[in-house]
């Protein structure tokens, strides 16, 4: 049913339609509208059979869903930014124990300086946490991917993070085909836990593992996540077959056929980039777009295949690995192994800075002319940084990296 709704509400409805049994949450912008709506639905009776628990922190929220999941309840939470970092210990714990929790991350920058606006720094910090990470390009996809996420998580006994850009998506009202209960029920079977904390068949879950088996435990977790490279596209295909639209999957290609230059990006900037690609193509520039939906596990082979034939790729990142540069870029570089394709990294949209069509087209022009440095900060206020760097340090040390003035 098509509705003009806020992204958060669309997600809340999708989560509710997935029949979660326990939701533990703690409020943080820009995740709030999702959990507010879910709490209302539980209290009003619209969402039956679900316990909504107002926890005292994100650490407690993740801990709560760990407990709930361990007793076989389909469990959900949502967070963002500082909240995700505050729950980190439990985030790793959930994946370590293979509990199929689904969590929305309403992507937001992490401080200091404190900043409530969107970038991917929060989720990227959890790159190696053992969770599957899926990035939504739109509110429709965000909603759809939550339903898929439960299916993927429970099939693999691996937790799934659905990442959607804070404010840009969560607070944007647009037309969404809101998922309906019957359809979701047909798509998503009831949760059948792999392991269970159960007095009738008691086990000890969460034992201490020493050097003699820790490597094996980690290896098996790795192999288990790699299985997702098959499961994620299969579930997306099943979803497409039932709902008639493409949502989720590993990668999303847009006009990459024969493209000399391929832009690689995650999240909502995909929509903006589609417009940029269309405009560039109209101007006769051979460019295409590749969206990474599954950042973890990273689809190396699929990426490799998707960029075959291109001369260069430009990775647009909404996060920064300080001291290194791009984060996704590192994975792309691995995917490009064995090709002659050159790679450029663009850091864009940190802390909520808008990524404009104008800036993207200007950047792409330089890329196509092979004038783009290896690492570029889009729309950097060079006056400010130049002044600060010169004030603090001898300028010659930064001669290579300072933007030309």
């Amino acid at each position: 049913m098509l509705q003009q709704v806020e992204g958060s509400k669309a997600v809340a409805v999708a989560v509710a339609a997935s029949r979660p049994q326990v939701i533990c949450a703690y409020p943080i912008s820009p995740q709030t509208h999702i959990v507010e709506e879910l709490s209302r639905m539980v209290k009003s009776g619209e969402l039956r059979g679900c316990e909504y628990v107002n926890m005292e922190s994100e650490f407690a929220a993740m801990s709560g869903v760990i407990g709930a999941s361990a007793v076989g309840a389909r469990s959900y939470t949502a967070t963002a930014s500082q909240g995700l970092l505050y729950m980190v210990e439990a985030v790793y714990n959930a994946s370590g124990m293979g509990l199929p929790i689904v969590m929305t991350v309403a992507n937001r920058a992490i401080g200091a300086p404190i900043n409530i606006w969107n970038d991917h720094g929060d989720a990227m910090s959890q790159r190696d946490s053992g969770w599957i990470q899926l990035y939504a390009t739109s509110n429709q996809e965000a909603a759809d991917m939550h339903v898929q996420a439960f299916k993927i998580a429970e099939e693999l006994s691996v937790p799934v993070m659905v990442c959607m850009d804070g404010f840009v998506l969560t607070h944007a009202t647009e037309r969404v085909d809101v998922l309906e209960q019957d359809a979701v029920d047909a798509f998503l079977p009831p949760y059948s836990p792999r392991q269970l904390l159960d007095p009738d068949d008691p086990v000890s879950i969460g034992s201490m593992v020493g050097p003699e088996a820790f490597t094996e435990v980690r290896y098996l977790a790795h192999m288990r996540q790699l299985e997702a490279l098959d499961v994620i596209p299969r579930v997306a295909a099943e979803f497409a077959a039932q709902f008639g639209r493409d949502s989720g999957g590993l990668l999303r290609s847009y006009r990459t056929d024969g493209a000399e230059t391929i832009v690689i990006a995650l999240g909502s900037v995909f929509g903006t980039l589609q417009d940029v690609i269309d405009a560039e193509r109209a101007d006769g520039v051979s460019v295409g777009l590749l969206g990474v939906t599954s950042f973890r596990p990273f689809p190396y082979e699929a990426t490799h295949a998707a960029v075959q034939g291109a001369r260069r790729v430009v990775v647009i990142e909404r996060a920064l690995a300080v001291g290194a540069g791009g984060i996704v870029a590192g994975d792309v570089r691995i995917a490009l192994t064995g090709t002659e394709i050159s790679q450029r990294t663009v850091i864009a949209g940190l802390g909520g800075r808008p990524i404009t069509t104008t800036s993207l087209r200007e950047m792409l022009g330089r890329a196509v002319r092979d004038e783009l440095p290896a690492l570029t900060f889009l729309d950097l206020d060079t006056g400010v940084v130049d002044r600060e760097l010169r004030r603090l340090h001898p300028v010659d040390r930064f001669a290579d990296v300072l933007p030309q003035t």
Partner: protein
């Protein structure tokens, strides 16, 4: 359930890890000798039968008790209970009233008509017991249990010896005495009364394989007291004997008893009951040096008996006595002072000790007599093979309890001699010391006081003075037992083991240490109330 590798484990799988390898000391269950048992002249083990009595298993308690002593109802009245004197509980609050419980069990057994065990087979060996007092009857009972044919002969018309003719009825009612003796006779002991054995050689010739001489000390010591012709003097043994036979002598209104033992007290209290308005004990030393038992003395004083301490009778005359005041010298021995006073007295009762008539042994070879007693070895055998002796006839403390013990020990020795085997007395386990107990665990509980007849009633007749416990109070008293040195299945060891390494075997079967897992921490031993677990160094 599909369990993730290493993270999720099957329950109880740590049993594969034998932590017993850590141990440097191991706990070991022991059975020590409780002080009550150690102190009992009759070889009773009160702890054992108190344990049974605690939960109301009175028949079991009684059966355990009578393995050592067939006279619990009598013991419960006349024993001076050295067990209670030794009882570790006295360090905590008050000694357990073992004697009271014993009496309850004895009385209850009489009420219930419980019988003593009858031997399944007989050995064909015949034993003659001379004397139907506590020693002789105890020996007869034990010998009968061992399968021998036993004949008991006594000069008196009724059995019981000093229990009948020495102990007043207000302390030991005759129906109780009769009942406990009848029970022994019922096991097949042949009792020949009013039969004097005065020729041991002749008796042996009747075909007895062994003889046990338990003739007691029936003769009052005739100490010299200067006296006028008209003075009325009787000895206490005769007095008590005549009273027992229903033929009390005339003592008058004012009676003086000379002596400081239990017999003196019995005589003084008996005089009161015979109508004396004044009953005075004259004793040459002080109360703390008096051999008479404290409780007897206390009851006597309650009944109005008066004592003149530090006094001797210098001269007896009709209607009055001359008494000399004494002083204790530095060794505690009384010395005359030369100070005299007169005391009105219609009669003087002498209670200065008893002697044994051993004339039946005249002409028996290889005997040694010393100070009127016959010498025996550790197995109660005299110098003459096959002739044993015990009780008051041999040098020992002269109490019913000691006599019963002699009888039982002698019976074992006679049995061994008859079977021509060496008598092997098991080594007594080490004594359970108070310091080894963990008394925290014992509930605070006062001694259950035996109700007593009002003192005023006592002097009007020979009704029993000390009353028995009811069943509830007896169980309560039994539960005060701390079971020193013997496991009583309180489950503490089973509970306090952090390693779950104590196996509970079930009621009556106690516990076992699981040395596969016991780390040797020692909590079980430290927290064992009764000190029944020792920590022993590992040697491997």
């Amino acid at each position: 359930m599909e369990k993730p590798f290493a993270i999720t484990l099957d329950v109880g799988s740590s049993l594969a890890n034998h932590t017993g390898a850590w141990r440097v000391e191991r706990p070991v269950y022991v059975d020590l000798t409780p002080p009550c048992a150690h102190a009992c002249p009759a070889m009773e083990d009160p702890q054992k039968w108190l344990y049974a009595a605690e939960d109301g298993s009175y028949e079991q308690a009684w059966r355990t008790l009578v393995e050592a002593n067939p006279f619990p109802a009598i013991m419960g009245r006349v024993c001076y209970h050295p067990c209670e004197t030794a009882c570790n509980r006295s360090f905590l609050d008050e000694a357990v009233g073992i004697n009271a419980v014993e009496r309850f069990l004895g009385d209850h057994a009489i009420e219930q008509g419980w019988a003593l065990p009858v031997p399944a087979t007989t050995t064909g060996r015949r034993v003659l017991v001379v004397g139907a007092g506590p020693t002789g009857l105890s020996a007869a009972y034990q010998l009968r249990r061992l399968g021998h044919e036993v004949t008991v002969r006594d000069t008196s018309p009724l059995p019981g010896g000093m229990m009948r003719y020495g102990i007043p009825a207000y302390r030991l009612p005759r129906d109780v005495l009769d009942a406990e003796i009848a029970r022994i006779v019922a096991t097949g002991v042949r009792l020949e009364l009013s039969t004097r054995v005065d020729d041991m050689t002749a008796a042996l010739a009747e075909g007895f394989d062994a003889v046990f001489v338990a003739v007691g000390a029936q003769i009052g010591k005739r100490a010299y007291v200067p006296a006028a012709e008209a003075a009325r003097i009787v000895d206490a043994v005769s007095l008590l004997h005549d009273v027992a036979q229903g033929d009390p002598p005339l003592l008058g209104r004012r009676v003086v008893v000379y002596g400081g033992g239990n017999t003196a007290v019995d005589a003084a209290r008996t005089a009161k009951r015979l109508g004396a308005s004044e009953s005075v004990i004259v004793y040459r030393r002080t109360r703390d040096r008096m051999p008479a038992h404290d409780s007897e003395m206390a009851e006597a004083i309650e009944e109005g008996v008066v004592v003149k301490w530090l006094s001797t009778v210098a001269h007896a005359d009709a209607g009055h006595l001359r008494v000399e005041r004494m002083e204790l010298d530095e060794t505690g021995f009384p010395q005359p002072t030369g100070e005299f006073e007169d005391l009105e007295a219609d009669s003087l009762v002498l209670a200065l000790g008893q002697e044994t008539d051993l004339s039946l042994l005249d002409g028996v070879s290889d005997l040694t007599l010393t100070n009127g007693s016959v010498e025996v070895d550790s197995s109660f055998m005299t110098g003459h093979p096959g002739i044993f002796a015990g009780g008051d006839a041999v040098p020992a403390q002269r109490t019913v309890t000691v006599g019963v013990g002699h009888g039982a020990k002698a019976a074992r020795a006679i049995d061994a001699w008859l079977r021509a085997t060496a008598l092997v007395e098991p080594d007594e386990a080490p004594l359970a010391e108070y310091a080894a107990l963990n008394t925290w665990y014992y509930a605070d509980a006062p001694h259950a006081v035996r109700p007593r007849l009002e003192a005023a009633r006592r002097t009007t007749g020979f009704e029993e003075v000390v009353q028995g416990l009811d069943a509830e109070t007896a169980a309560y008293e039994a539960r005060r037992c701390m079971s020193c040195g013997n496991c009583f299945e309180c489950d503490n060891c089973y509970g306090v083991c952090p390693d779950n390494a104590v196996i509970k075997l079930g009621t009556g079967k106690r516990f076992e240490i699981d040395y596969d897992y016991c780390k040797g921490c020692g909590i079980c031993a430290a927290e064992c109330p009764s000190g029944s677990i020792l920590m022993v160094p590992e040697t491997r």
